[in-house]
């Protein structure tokens, strides 16, 4: 009796310790994640000349500017052409997404529902291209794009992203779940393949479309290496290149740096927050889960 009571108490103490430990871990985690983001935002909202002043020593003012201003944002848009970079990134992202979703969905459909000669060769090419990461072929791709004659144009940024092995694979996985009988019935009714694809297959596959759209948007929006190599005039400068161009040690540039970092990160963050669940579900449905 006495023994059981003591065991119960030990268990109770253990549980409280466990809870305290979990709580401490969560608080530490939150600090590590939030502080850099919050500090960036606070610094972007501070008057440009007073950035160093509050960085050291650490006070509450480091994180809460006594004077909040949008001047830094106004400055990067009016004087540094950040609007142009934002527009370029949107053009490049939407161009690639519009073409890429159609191309990948079509190929995924053929792989999921058709038997044709050379199917295994085509599937091998798809697998190969999504196993070889994009960064690894940036330098030879530059030679190819130069040969085609589209270097330093929007096309150089859009076209290489259109054929997307992972996108094709994702669509294939999703289309395999669609009932073949449904398509056969439509076929018997005399529907063309094009209308079956656009009227039945795509409307039934919106979750897959969302996943591929988000995947391609994040990839295009966040890429730095390829735009750096494929374009050199400021006309085609995309956001990531614009942000990277503000990296210098001078205080005057810190304000531009923080505000452009915030402006560049808002679109992907908002998109991420909006479709987070579907995106993760879609990616893990590729069978890697």
């Amino acid at each position: 009796m006495h023994h059981a009571h003591r065991a119960h108490r030990a268990n109770h103490v253990g549980r409280i310790c466990g809870r305290l430990l979990t709580g401490a871990l969560l608080v530490a985690l939150a600090l590590v994640l939030i502080v850099p983001l919050w500090w960036t935002l606070a610094s972007a909202l501070r008057p440009a000349g007073s950035l160093y002043e509050y960085a050291n020593p650490l006070t509450w003012r480091t994180f809460f500017p006594s004077e909040v201003t949008l001047d830094n944002f106004v400055n990067i848009f009016t004087n540094l052409g950040f609007g142009r970079a934002l527009a370029n990134s949107f053009i490049v992202a939407f161009g690639a997404i519009a073409m890429g979703v159609v191309v990948s969905a079509m190929a995924g459909f053929a792989l999921a529902k058709f038997v044709f000669p050379g199917k295994s060769v085509f599937f091998f090419i798809v697998l190969l291209t999504f196993m070889v990461p994009f960064e690894a072929i940036v330098i030879p791709l530059h030679l190819v794009v130069k040969r085609i004659g589209i270097v330093n144009t929007y096309w150089a940024l859009i076209l290489p992203a259109v054929g997307n092995g992972l996108g094709i694979f994702l669509f294939k996985q999703f289309f395999e779940e669609l009932p073949t009988e449904l398509l056969e019935a439509a076929r018997v009714d005399g529907a063309s393949w094009l209308s079956i694809f656009t009227r039945i297959v795509i409307p039934l596959s919106l979750p897959a479309v969302v996943t591929v759209v988000v995947m391609m948007f994040l990839f295009q929006w966040n890429s730095l290496f390829w735009p750096l190599v494929a374009t050199y005039s400021s006309r085609y400068q995309v956001v990531q290149v614009a942000v990277a161009s503000h990296v210098t040690a001078e205080e005057a540039h810190w304000a531009n740096l923080f505000s452009s970092a915030i402006a560049a990160s808002l679109p992907p963050m908002l998109l991420f927050l909006a479709v987070q669940k579907q995106y993760v579900r879609g990616i893990s449905s590729t069978g890697f889960k």
Binding site: L29, F116, P140, W193, P268, M269
Partner: protein
């Protein structure tokens, strides 16, 4: 399955054209160029395996980069898996705060690696950075961080971990939710404690997720470019001169395409070998 080859052909045609033009052709060019050398007059001639032989035998710069890249990958890959798995285990419960924490962990991965590098670069500034202000407040010595050859690479690792751990956590969470609850209940009835359940049920059943995360991470980390380009340019004293950056310099600064493409081909081989080893390891150690 339909046997309409003509329809299938039209459906795959656009993808085939784009994949061949912008993926297969560059891969072929990369291999081809790595067997070529360009003379001062711009003429190209075939040199066989000479670019590779030179890299392997007479290029200390290349070997320095291999060392840096391997060190970076050997530390960051297992660490990223461990941290993201730990986060997933910590957040795999139904409490009111869990949704908030999951989103918070996920948020940094929506920011591009280059913006993360920019933010961390300022935070780690030796004179005015937030990191040293915190150290001073705690009464510790300020550190040189990115300006020191013994610390820079570790700073890049921390940065990469900060950005990507929450992303990979999502895959582990999906994996954890795929484990049926009955398995745990049965184990509890059989008297299995928390640790036993962890090592006998959770980890073995997560083996597939684990290989996926490990292999994806490997490719990604071997090809690290943005943080090096933005923050350190390979320095100080080549301590962060990773292979991708060395290849970039070779192609665009020294205009030695043979060397640049030979390096990127070797990188692909390294990624391939490491991935195969990792697949073997994760499969073997979780057999039960």
């Amino acid at each position: 399955m339909f046997r309409d080859s003509k329809a299938a052909f039209w459906f795959i045609l656009p993808a085939l054209v784009f994949l061949c033009l912008f993926k297969i052709w560059p891969i072929a060019v990369s291999l081809g160029e790595s067997f070529m050398q360009t003379s001062i007059s711009g003429r190209k001639f075939f040199v066989g395996l000479e670019n590779y032989a030179y890299l392997l035998h007479d290029d200390p710069l290349f070997w320095g980069s291999v060392r840096v890249t391997l060190l970076y990958s050997l530390v960051i890959n297992p660490l990223a898996v461990a941290v993201s798995l730990a986060l997933a285990l910590l957040l795999n419960r139904s409490k009111w705060y869990v949704g908030f924490f999951r989103t918070l962990c996920f948020l940094p991965s929506a920011i591009s690696l280059s913006v993360v590098a920019v933010i961390w670069g300022v935070m780690l500034d030796p004179h005015f950075g937030l990191a040293n202000s915190v150290l001073r407040m705690l009464g510790l010595q300020p550190q040189p961080f990115l300006t020191s050859s013994s610390q820079a690479l570790w700073c890049l690792m921390a940065m990469s971990l900060w950005r990507s751990a929450g992303y990979w956590m999502m895959f582990f969470l999906a994996g954890l939710q795929g484990i049926p609850q009955e398995v745990y209940e049965a184990a509890e009835i059989d008297g299995a404690g928390g640790l036993t359940r962890m090592f006998r049920i959770t980890l073995p059943l997560l083996a597939r997720t684990m290989s996926f995360v490990l292999v994806s991470n490997t490719a990604f980390n071997f090809l690290t470019f943005a943080p090096v380009f933005i923050l350190t340019r390979g320095g100080p004293m080549r301590s962060t001169n990773m292979l991708m950056y060395e290849s970039y310099k070779s192609a665009f600064v020294n205009v030695d395409l043979g060397r640049a493409t030979a390096i990127s081909s070797m990188l692909l081989v390294m990624i391939l070998i490491t991935s195969v080893i990792e697949l073997r390891l994760t499969r073997a150690s979780f057999e039960y």
